[in-house]
């Protein structure tokens, strides 16, 4: 519009330049028409390509924002949102799906672009297929950031020209299209399909070959196909000793129980590239889980010296420091981080819980209570309130206010425990231990384990709570193992009863367990299957059918390609042939 208005009789078009470029074909195609008048350029290139792409720009500097708007508009982008901070960015992202996110690395004094990206990825707030480009003025940041867990799709080093930017974006969009199917499957956590799609694409050995290997290996890890993942990482390493492939191999080995070999690889990576942040985090985690807390702390401290790091590392470090008996360290690290991220959405209620704990353990119960009070202002949701009540309870207890401690704990335990996320449950268990309620604490921890059978993070969290409560490592491990075995026994009993025709008992046993452990997909799927089998045998019963379908839907929601769904469905079809046509 602006240009059209300016166009007057006095204005003449100074030049029209048409650029030819060959793209994959031998036939030259017009890629870019450049019209110059009034000494301004309008590039008509890519209009069809960029016009329908949604772009979000995050930059704290007013001048850059308006210049980027102008450049992007000139390049043919029509659907643009430009914001100044990550809070606005998150609001936009909640209601809009972007194809491209351009984010400045430095966003004033608060949360930076890398921390923002990590927040998006850890909380699944951004599709794998969204192109995330980090704009940075500093080469040095790039090196540290590149070697961290969530790397952006590309970096633009300031200053850059519009031509350079467009050329990069064209390549990124080409990649976006190529990976669309794979990314969609990954967003749905449909790892089997990710693997299948990668297998289809790999034989071409094209320019995406190595990235396809990386994607497939990650999907194999998610599917617990560790040996295959390790083999694939080794295949990549035979081409070139790339950092992420070395770390991937270490992870696969660690999960196979080959901890020494895994740690050795991580140490070698760090010897070669001390800026490989993900290797510190991995090594620290490994050491912590084998009880070597001091060594783990040292590794994470070293990481912090290289790069102050993202909230995930601060959390790891301060949690570890608390459980290793160094609450002063936890306090200073977490206080500093929360000060830096004041008002930022990357903070979590647990950060305040850790800080409060660190203070309580130093005998500063009053300060611990004021941290809880501060957190209450920002975290008003139900789960946060529960975690804070549990945290408060521990602080009150330490201050000698037993009545207040009991009241706070009662508040934390008022709701339906089955419906709470494991993180919250372990926080309550921690408070129970502090108030001498061992039985309740153990019950809660058993539940957390049984409801999340495959989740290593929960296991180590439970482990931490037990150790903090003064249990020996062997005792803690035995308790975790026993909880795991108990649920396996329940499952096997149910299946055996169904096999021997005792459907009523099987249904009762498995449904009770499924209601208690809605996250344990093996239990939930077997409950659904056993009901379906019982219905086929004993005739339809609308109430039981409803229950069966409820479990089935829960299953589909949590894991759409869970193998047992097909089995359940085939039983249901026998029961009610009409269902299959729905």
């Amino acid at each position: 519009m602006k240009y059209a208005q300016r166009l007057s009789a006095a204005t003449t078009i100074a030049s029209i330049r048409i650029e030819y470029r060959e793209l994959l074909t031998d036939r030259p195609r017009v890629r870019r028409v450049r019209i110059v008048f009034n000494r301004r350029k309008i590039t008509l290139s890519n209009i069809s390509k960029f016009a329908d792409k949604w772009v979000l720009v995050i930059d704290d500097m007013e001048g850059m924002r308006s210049q980027l708007r102008m450049s992007l508009t000139n390049s043919g982008f029509a659907k643009l949102h430009i914001v100044a901070n990550i809070r606005e960015a998150l609001e936009r992202m909640a209601s809009n799906r972007y194809d491209v996110v351009l984010c400045d690395y430095s966003l004033g004094d608060s949360t930076d672009g890398q921390q923002f990206l990590e927040h998006l990825r850890t909380n699944d707030l951004i599709s794998r297929n969204t192109i995330f480009v980090m704009i940075t003025a500093e080469q040095a940041y790039e090196k540290v950031v590149a070697a961290s867990e969530c790397a952006p799709d590309d970096y633009l080093l300031k200053p850059f020209t519009a031509g350079q930017f467009n050329a990069r974006l064209e390549k990124l969009l080409e990649r976006q299209e190529y990976f669309a199917g794979i990314d969609k499957a990954a967003d749905a956590k449909d790892w089997a399909r990710v693997i299948a799609e990668c297998d289809k694409a790999l034989p071409a050995r094209n320019k995406y070959f190595v990235e396809l290997c990386k994607t497939k290996a990650a999907a194999l890890m998610h599917s617990n196909r560790l040996q295959e993942a390790a083999n694939l990482y080794r295949e990549v390493l035979a081409l070139r000793p790339i950092g992420w492939a070395r770390l991937g191999l270490a992870r696969a080995l660690a999960m196979q129980g080959k901890k020494d070999e895994a740690q050795q690889i991580a140490r070698e990576i760090l010897a070669d590239s001390p800026q490989f942040m993900a290797a510190y985090d991995f090594l620290g985690g490994q050491l912590a889980s084998s009880g070597e807390k001091k060594a783990a702390l040292e590794v994470l401290q070293k990481a912090r010296a290289v790069s102050p790091g993202t909230m995930n590392r601060i959390r790891e470090l301060s949690t570890l420091a608390v459980s290793a008996g160094q609450p002063e360290l936890a306090e200073s690290v977490m206080r500093q981080a929360l000060q830096k991220h004041k008002y930022s959405p990357v903070r979590q209620v647990n950060d305040y819980a850790i800080l409060s704990k660190a203070l309580t353990n130093q005998g500063k119960a009053d300060e611990a209570l004021s941290v809880v009070a501060d957190a209450r202002k920002d975290f008003r949701d139900e789960h946060s309130q529960i975690i804070l009540a549990a945290t408060e309870s521990v602080a009150h207890r330490a201050a000698g206010n037993d009545e207040l401690a009991e009241a706070a704990l009662a508040k934390a335990m008022a709701g339906d425990i089955n419906a709470l996320p494991a993180e919250t449950v372990t926080a309550i268990a921690d408070a129970c231990f502090a108030l001498g309620k061992e039985d309740e604490a153990n019950k809660l921890l058993r539940h957390a384990i049984q409801n999340n059978p495959e989740d290593e993070t929960i296991r180590s969290k439970v482990h931490d709570v037990l150790i903090a409560a003064g249990k020996e490592i062997t005792e803690a491990n035995a308790m975790i193992e026993d909880s795991t075995q108990e649920v396996i026994r329940t499952n096997n009993d149910g299946v055996r009863k169904a096999e021997s025709g005792q459907f009523d008992e099987a249904v009762e046993l498995l449904c009770e367990a499924a209601n208690r452990l809605p996250n344990n997909l093996q239990i939930v799927s077997n409950a659904a299957l056993v009901i379906a089998l019982a219905l086929v045998k004993n005739g339809n019963n609308p109430q039981m059918l409803a229950q069966c379908l409820r479990y089935r839907d829960l299953l589909v929601k949590k894991s759409p390609d869970y193998p047992k769904i097909a089995q359940i469905d085939s039983q249901l079809r026998l029961l009610q042939p009409a269902r299959s046509s729905q």
Binding site: R40, K143, A146, K158, P159, Q164
Partner: protein, 203 residues
């Protein structure tokens, strides 16, 4: 490095970024944009040399498509030097290669910039495989490297006033050398063959 210095450099690059984008909207400001971009690259080079001398510079090789890599580089310099022909030849390049994209990009930017400044009408960017090494080549049709430059092949620059090329070539050599594989190191080679030819060999 001193935090204050780093902050100032950061600030200057931000201002140059805004300037470059402003100039980019104009059709008659290529030379000015060129100056802004070149100034920023000099700052980047200086920062990297400081890091390299403190032995803090390390490479993170990953898979890179050399065709895409050179295409993006060419797009940038086509914009800065619109009267030159910039050709890309990746006919003998492997489907994917392994190197540190960001560092090699900076090293090559310097070579392309020099080539564009010296060229009469053409600059050629090429990638190919040779003796199990990836060769990235920048050739122009200008007067060629001066003898002194050919002799010291990217040694540490003698003085800060050596018009830019000294520091850039030195850094390019260091970046190439940081790429190592099975006992082989990267290197650069300078020669004159119908113009200046810069080659970076990466294992």
């Amino acid at each position: 490095m001193n935090d204050l210095y780093a902050a100032v450099i950061h600030d200057v690059k931000n201002q140059l970024a805004e300037l470059a984008l402003r100039l980019g909207e104009r059709a008659d400001a290529q030379q000015e944009m060129n100056i802004a971009m070149n100034a920023a690259r000099r700052l980047s080079e200086m920062l990297l040399v400081i890091r390299q001398e403190a032995e803090l510079l390390s490479v993170n090789p990953d898979s890179v498509d050399t065709g895409d890599f050179l295409a993006i580089l060419a797009a940038e310099y086509r914009e800065l030097f619109p009267t030159l022909e910039l050709d890309i030849d990746t006919g003998h390049a492997p489907a994917f290669a392994f190197f540190d994209d960001a560092l090699v990009r900076l090293a090559l930017s310097n070579a392309v910039h020099n080539a564009c400044r010296s060229a009469r009408s053409r600059v050629r960017l090429a990638a190919r495989e040779q003796d199990k090494m990836l060769v990235l080549e920048v050739a122009d049709d200008g007067p060629g490297f001066p003898d002194a430059t050919l002799e010291n092949e990217g040694d540490a620059p003698a003085s800060a006033s050596s018009r830019g090329t000294g520091l850039g070539l030195y850094l390019a050599r260091k970046i190439a050398e940081l790429h190592k594989l099975e006992g082989r190191n990267g290197r650069i080679e300078l020669s004159n063959d119908g113009g200046a030819v810069f080659r970076m060999f990466l294992p």
